[in-house]
Symmetry: C2
Subunit: 419 residues, 2 copies
């Protein structure tokens, strides 16, 4: 895409209310725009990133044989009364329409349990799993962390249904593995810890995925060798690594990027979701639920992967893989820059082409660093004269000259190496 | 996908409150589930259809050089007061949070105008167009038409920004053409009319795309030769075909599947969205907006494309292109049915494989007709004996025997022929 046609422009200054790193960088670079506290528009570059993250998550869910659905955001009060959560969940947005009470879904146990329960009759109908990737709403008291804590946000929620705790446990462990592949592909694999935590609203225990970040809201105690951590909230009960029993746990601040719960019969009992087993006895279906905020993950990635100049996107989720900058002044070199762009696009690369003629080289480089596309190519009169282009990875300080005839192969190798 | 693993099952009977054909068929076949009036879950089959429609729409929008964004559903009161619509739009869901008034977006002029306006400074920044495919909310008084009139629904909204009426008009005409390609690909090309209508909230005139349907809510007067119509609401002002001036217009009931408006400066003036022209004078940016309800389109397709047995999906939006039914009783034939399924999947076909062993042939055929997948294959002991499979298009009454060795090529030709 040609940068001159992009509807957004980068900004030097944004609202001083945005104190989080992720909101500052994403807004300045034109990825998101704030409508009000905790509520953002995803602009063209930002939606590209979000969609890539959601594609990675979708692929992971499909590998778990989960079936994608889309449940409503508008929910009636009744099922929330069945579970006793209408008055307990304080972040519910409630809407009064005439004498009818509605709310906006912050989570979907109240909807998915009777819905899928309606299709479950016997043990032959189990196990099953469904998920959705959807916009959710939470009336957060003071949202001030950009995409990390939104009032309207994107989330993947997966729900699984089982005959036995053993079967639930087996699926739970598969989800755990698949979650780690998601965080790896998003560039957070080495710093994301499987974390033992309290069960919150649901169960005694749960597990979180915590990404270590200097300004994270949570505190965890990590076992470096196991990539496992214990949330501060259960530190007293669990002073050692649950895997290797080491007591040498290191305190870290972190961002929760996912959480999984063994709900057991917490929701199936109130909704009477039962199955008949092989002896024809009715039993409660057991459930697990598995959350992952896709917009929060986008924010977490920026919190961790940036430098003083801007964002550093991992190649799998960058809005484009190549940022081609033309510094050509002469029309004939501009034509060659355009030909180079066409060559790359036809070669299957996703390229942002900065062909703006009213911008200085310094402005273009600053924009490129801020936007954080992994590979930068600079084409100028100087490089054109030697049939080359200057290449620089986003985190490299020195660029190198690549001869045009070998460029496509060179770039393919670079991209593969970073995946 | 194996039908035995699908989370949904077909139903013979659904709530008697669902009087519309689209809701009856889609619910019985397991495409959607009603949560409350006008609010539905898209189940795995239904989300596949909706996603295909939205992919077709996305492709069409990208061909118009429009850039995809995602704006919030939660909106503050302020911009609605700027345009004077807070009290005028009676379908707004309003939410009171403390002393703050919010609403759920039924449309996004109030958000997109200042948002994109903030990036427009000079004539060089124009034209621009952005769109989103998003969940919208309308507090409809009596939603009773299934997906045709939802309280929560999916919609594509496109907004374009121009320097002049001529430029807006040119883009408007391009959108018109692109809309017709969408309806063609969705199987409604021959019965969807470009319709002259009143401007509603916005302007004096607008244009609608109306699909002729026996139970449609709207009445239009169509010129068969021009594929153009006049909405009853402006019939007095426009008694003849606006294209050929023929007065032989035929009265039809129809469903509105899209509408486009030349907003001009209706929204840019209140928000002071101006650009400086080549003489450096400030002028109002002119806007167009172009709506298309993707979930409504799904409902409209079912209203029109069905028979007494069930849905008849066009091949481009069907959840699967092939419904493979195995009637095998013997284990060795079941293995051959599985091999046939693998062959088709490896051949790149999307196949729903009805391998259920606890269902009669009659039940399987009835389910297949209800679900409406375009091509049905039946594999049984009888066809296995002659290395063949029975093929039947959804609307054909007779099946034909296809030899397995030529099946893949035969199916490819069938699919191409229907596109």
């Amino acid at each position: 895409m040609k940068q001159s046609l992009l509807v957004t422009k980068t900004r030097k200054v944004i609202s001083s209310q945005e104190t989080s790193i992720n909101a500052q960088l994403l807004e300045r670079a034109g990825y998101i725009a704030k409508l009000m506290a905790g509520v953002y528009t995803y602009l063209p570059l930002g939606l590209r990133v979000l969609s890539r993250i959601e594609s990675i998550v979708r692929e992971a869910m499909n590998s778990l044989e989960a079936q994608e659905i889309l449940m409503p955001a508008l929910q009636p009060k009744d099922p929330w009364e069945v579970t006793g959560r209408w008055d307990k969940v304080d972040i519910l947005y409630k809407i009064k329409v005439g004498d009818r009470d509605l709310c906006l879904g912050p989570t979907h146990e109240e909807i998915v349990t009777p819905l899928i329960g309606g299709y479950i009759h016997s043990y032959k109908d189990l196990p099953r799993a469904v998920y959705q990737i959807q916009t959710k709403f939470r009336n957060e008291a003071r949202p001030k962390s950009g995409l990390l804590r939104g009032r309207e946000f994107r989330m993947k929620d997966l729900y699984s249904f089982h005959t036995s705790e053993a079967d639930l446990h087996e699926y739970y462990e598969k989800v755990r593995e698949v979650y780690m592949t998601i965080f790896k592909r998003c560039g957070l694999g080495d710093i994301t810890y499987y974390t033992y935590a309290s069960g919150g609203m649901f169960t005694k225990y749960s597990h979180e995925f915590q990404t270590v970040a200097p300004l994270g809201e949570d505190t965890i105690f990590v076992c470096e060798s196991c990539l496992i951590a214990v949330n501060q909230e259960i530190r007293a009960d669990q002073p050692v690594c649950p895997n290797c029993s080491s007591s040498e746990l290191v305190e870290r601040t972190s961002i929760e990027v996912g959480n999984i719960f063994a709900l057991l019969s917490r929701f199936t009992e109130p909704f009477n979701v039962e199955y008949s087993n092989q002896e024809n006895t009715q039993q409660s279906v057991l459930m697990g639920c598995y959350g992952l905020g896709t917009s929060r993950l986008m924010g977490a990635i920026v919190e961790v992967l940036h430098d003083e100049k801007g964002i550093v996107w991992p190649v799998e989720i960058a809005p484009f893989s190549i940022h081609l900058i033309s510094l050509s002044r002469k029309p004939e070199t501009q034509i060659r820059a355009q030909e180079l762009y066409d060559l790359l696009v036809n070669g299957g690369f996703e390229v942002l082409f900065d062909e703006r003629i009213d911008c200085s080289a310094g402005e273009k480089f600053a924009d490129a660093d801020l936007m954080g596309i992994p590979f930068r190519l600079v084409f100028s009169e100087k490089t054109a004269a030697v049939d080359s282009v200057e290449f620089k990875g986003r985190t490299q300080s020195e660029s190198s000259l690549i001869i045009l005839s070998s460029l496509v192969e060179f770039l393919r190798n670079q991209i593969v190496a970073q995946k």
